[in-house]
Amino acid sequence: MATEWPCALFHIMRKGGLLSLDLPQEKEPAIELVGIDKRFGAVHANRNINLTVAKGSIHGIIGENGAGKSTLMSILYGFYQADQGEIRISGRPVAIRDSQTAIASGIGMVHQHFMLVENFTVLENVMLGAEGGQLLAKGVASARRELKRLEDDYGLEVDPDAVIEELPVGSQQRVEILKALYRGAEILILDEPTGVLTPAEADHLFKVLRVLRDQGKTIILITHKLREIMAITDTVSVMRRGEMVATRKTAETTVEELAELMVGRRVLLRVEKGAANPGGVLLSVRNLTVKDSRGVTMVDDVSFDVRAGEIVGIAGVAGNGQSELLEAIAGIRKPASGEIFIDGKPAAGIDPAGLRNLGLAHIPEDRHHMGLVLKFEEYENSILGYHRDERYGRGAMLDLDAICKQAEEQIAKYDIRPPDPRLRTANFSGGNQQKIVVAREIERDPKMLIIGQPTRGVDIGAIEFIHKRIIEMRDAGKAVLLVSVELDEIRSLSDRILVMFAGKVVGEKSGEAGEQTLGLMMAGIAA
C-alpha cells in the first residue's frame, strides 16, 4: 500500500493540473521486463525479451500459438522462473517466485480457462483464499462491501449471490476480474479473454477494460485476434518464435502489418474460394431431435441437407444446440428421434467407428477431450478412430513402423511442428495439435466432413492453412458441414449458412449474408 499512495497522489495532482512535468515518457512504466530468457530443455521459449508496459495503458501481446506469450506471462505471474533477466514493477526489481508474490506485487491474472469453483457463489469465489480469519461471517460482510465498491467503481455488475455455474460465461469472466481486483491488482493480465465470449459479451468486456484503464489500472491482453488488438489496445507487441519482434502504437499500425510481423510473411486474412459446384445430397438430416444427459431438448426437430461440393455453415451463439447436433451426426450422442442419412443410407444410431466406414470424417469441437489423447505420442493420435484399419497392422496387432511412417508423412504435408511423431501431443502448440486432427481426418479421403470450431485457439498461420484444406475438400466434391461460433469464419467459408437458435434452425442464408442479418438471427430476433 505504501508504494501505491504516492503514485495515486501524483496522479491526482497531474489530473488536477497541479503538476505539469515534461517527462520524456508520458506515463511511467508499470512493468519492465529486461532480458528475459527461458528454456525448456531443447525449446528456447523466450529469447532475451525486453518489454515495457506503460502505467494506465492497455498493452496487447500477440503472436502465434507457441510464440512464447504464455511462457512470458507465466514468468510474470510466477509459474515459471526465468533463466535470466529481470522483472521491474513500477521501476523496482522484484523476484516473482510464485503466484502469491505476483499477487502481492499487484499482478492479477485472468486465465483462459476460468479458475472458479462452479458450485460456489460469486462472493464465495471472490473471497476464496482471502477469507480473513477463522470465522467466515466477518470476512463475508467486509468482502461484500468491497465487492460492491469494486462493482460500482468499474461497472462490473454481477450478483454476488449468484452461483457460478448458473452464470453466463461473460459474467464468470467478470468474476475472475473482480477476484484479481479484490486482491489489489494494479496490473491485470488477460489470457485470450474473448475465446469463450459472444460478440456482445466481448464488447462488454472491452468496455470494462477501458474503464479499468481510465481508472489507472494497467492491462496486458494476450490474444491472437488482430481485430481485438486494433479495437482495444493502446500499444501492441508482437512475439514470434520466442522473440519480441516489434512494438507499435496501435494507432500507427495496421492489421496487415501485425499479421505479417506475427507470421513472418504475408498472410491472406480472407480465404479465396471459387463458386461452389454442388452435386447430389450426401448428408441428410430429417426432423432430428437430440436431448442432453439431463433430458433437456438441445436440438429440436432440425432438418437440412448437405450436398457434395458445398460447405454448409451452422452459425449460432455457443450453446444453442450446435455441439449436440454435431455429436448426433458423428454417432457420439444418440438422437431422441429423427433420421440421418449418409449417402442415402440410414445412419442414425450407428456408432462412430461404423460412420467412419461410411465415409464420415469428424473434426470435433474439443480437440483436448475428443480429438486427441494428449498423453499419447503424436503418432498414436494420428490413427485415433482409424486404429482398426488393416493399414496399421494386421489382425489384432499394431504395426508401429507403418503408423510412424504415415504420421511422418502427415507431419510433412501439414507442416506440423516440431516434426517429431514420438513427441507427446500435449507438448505441441494448439495450432499444431489442431493440424494433427485435421491431417488425420482429411487424409483418409472421406466423402463428407463435419467440423466443429476448426480454428478455436489456433494461430493465424494455421487458420489460413486449415481454411485452405477445407476449401480443397469442397472443391474435391466432398460435403462439408461446418459449425463455428466465429461468425467471420462461417461467412468466409460457407456456401450456405444455417442459423441455429435455441435448438432450432431459424433460417438459411447464402454465404454472402451480412453480419448484421446473421447476428439478429443468432439472437433469435429475426428469421
Binding site: 461404423g354 475428443m370 486404429h387
Partner: protein, 368 residues
C-alpha cells in the same frame, strides 16, 4: 505451477525416483528398528542375506516374486484402461479353485505338462469369472468397480470357506483343504535354475509358474503397447471422451479388460496351489492380491517395472521372515511395518520427492 506435468527423462522417472523412495523407506525402517533397540545395519544385512544369500533363500524370494508378478500384472492391466481392480485377492483365490479342480481331475491320468495348460486356463477362467460380475456392473450399470471388487473379495472368501469345508475337504480330516495332488497335478521345482547359478534350491518352493509369470509379463507388454485392443484400452484409460469419439465401446473394453485382469490374478494361484503345497488350502492367497496393487504402482504399471517391484517385495517377504527368526525383537508385525513403509514411500508418496527433483533437473538442464 505444479511440477507434475513437467516431463523428466525416463532414467529419472523410472530409475532415480523409485530408488530414492526406496532408500527413504529403508531409512525410516532403520529408525524403527533402532527404536526397538536393534542395530538397523545388522538387520538390513540379515534381511538381504536371508533373501539373497543362499540358493534356498533365493528360491523363496522368487517364489513370492512369482505371486506378486501375477497380481501386479492384474492390477496394471486394469489401470491402463482406467479401472482400479482391488479384487485381485479374491480373483486369485477363486483362480485357485479352477487350478485345483483341473489338478484333481487330471493328476491320476496325465503328466504335469499336460495338466499345466488346462490348469492355467482353469485358473484364468475362474479368476476372470470372479471379475466378470463387477465388470458387468461397471460397464452396464455404472456401479463403481472399486466398491464391487472389494465386496467380491469377501464373497469369494466366504464361498471358498464353504467349498473347502463342505465339498472338497478330505473326509475324516480336520484341515479345510483338498487332498494332495499327485505328481501329474504338480508344477515341477526349478532346481536347475538355481543350480545354474551354483546354488541349491533346498526346500524352497520356486516352481515352473515363475516362468509362466515371465511369459505373462511379455504378453501383457505386447497386449498394452502392440495391439489394437491395448491401444483402445489406453485411450479409454486416459480419455473416455476421446474413446467415445473414436468409436471405442466403453462397455466392451471394460468387460474385456477386467476379464484379462481377473484371469491374470487367477493364474497367481498356480504358484502356491500347484507349485508349492500341491493342494488347495484355505486363505492361500495371503494378501498377495493387495501387494499386487503396490507392485503395480511402484512398477509404473509396466511389466518390466512390475518384475523389479515384485522382486523387491519378494525380498522383503523372504528376508523379513528370516529377520524375524534371527532377531526375535523384530516380530512378524514389525516386518509388516517395514513393508508398509516401502508401500507408503514407493506408492502413496510417489510424488513427494518429484517437485524437488524437477527443480534440480531444471537447474542442471537449464544451465547447459
Amino acid at each position: 505451477m505444479s511440477t507434475a506435468s513437467v516431463p523428466l527423462p525416463a532414467w529419472i522417472n523410472y530409475g532415480v525416483i523409485p530408488l530414492l523412495n526406496l532408500m527413504l523407506a529403508l531409512f525410516f525402517s532403520g529408525l524403527v528398528v533402532w527404536a526397538i533397540g536393534e542395530n538397523p545395519f545388522e538387520a538390513l544385512q540379515l534381511l538381504l542375506v536371508g533373501a539373497l544369500g543362499r540358493g534356498e533363500g533365493i528360491g523363496f524370494t522368487l517364489f513370492y516374486t512369482t505371486s506378486f508378478i501375477f497380481t501386479g500384472l492384474s492390477v496394471a492391466v486394469a489401470i491402463h484402461a482406467g479401472l482400479f481392480n482391488i479384487g485381485s485377492e479374491g480373483q486369485a483365490y477363486l483362480g485357485g479353485l479352477g487350478a485345483a479342480l483341473v489338478a484333481l481331475a487330471l493328476d491320476h491320468y496325465v503328466p504335469w505338462y499336460v495338466t499345466m495348460p488346462f490348469a492355467v486356463i482353469g485358473a484364468a477362467v475362474f479368476g476372470a469369472a470372479c471379475a466378470a460380475i463387477p465388470a458387468w456392473l461397471q460397464a452396464y450399470r455404472g456401479s463403481h468397480i472399486v466398491i464391487t471388487t472389494i465386496m467380491f473379495n469377501f464373497i469369494v472368501s466366504s464361498l471358498m470357506n464353504y467349498v473347502l469345508v463342505r465339498l472338497l475337504i478330505v473326509p475324516g480330516k480336520m484341515a479345510p483343504e483338498t487332498r494332495t495332488f499327485l505328481e501329474g497335478g504338480q508344477l515341477p521345482k526349478l532346481d536347475w535354475l538355481i543350480a545354474l547359478f551354483g546354488g541349491r534350491l533346498g526346500a524352497a518352493p520356486l516352481n515352473f509358474s515363475f516362468l509362466i509369470a515371465l511369459v505373462m509379463c511379455f504378453l501383457v507388454w505386447v497386449l498394452i503397447w502392440r495391439t489394437k485392443l491395448g491401444y483402445e484400452m489406453r485411450t479409454l484409460g486416459i480419455s473416455p471422451s476421446a474413446a467415445s469419439y473414436a468409436g471405442i465401446r466403453y462397455a466392451k473394453i471394460v468387460m474385456i479388460t477386467m476379464l484379462i485382469s481377473g484371469g491374470l490374478a487367477g493364474m497367481m494361484a498356480l504358484n502356491p496351489v500347484m507349485g508349492a503345497s500341491a493342494r488347495l488350502q484355505i486363505e492361500f492367497v495371503g494378501g498377495a492380491g493387495f501387494v499386487g496393487i503396490a507392485v503395480s504402482l511402484m512398477g509404473r504399471n509396466h511389466p518390466a517395472g512390475i518384475i523389479l517391484a515384485a522382486l523387491l517385495f519378494g525380498i522383503l517377504y523372504q528376508g523379513g521372515a528370516e529377520l524375524s527368526f534371527d532377531m526375535p525383537a523384530i516380530t512378524r508385525d514389525m516386518i509388516v511395518v517395514i513393508q508398509g513403509l516401502v508401500i507408503l514411500f514407493a506408492g502413496a508418496l510417489e510424488y513427494m520427492l518429484r517437485p524437488a527433483i524437477v527443480r534440480l533437473y531444471q537447474q542442471v538442464a537449464g544451465g547447459k
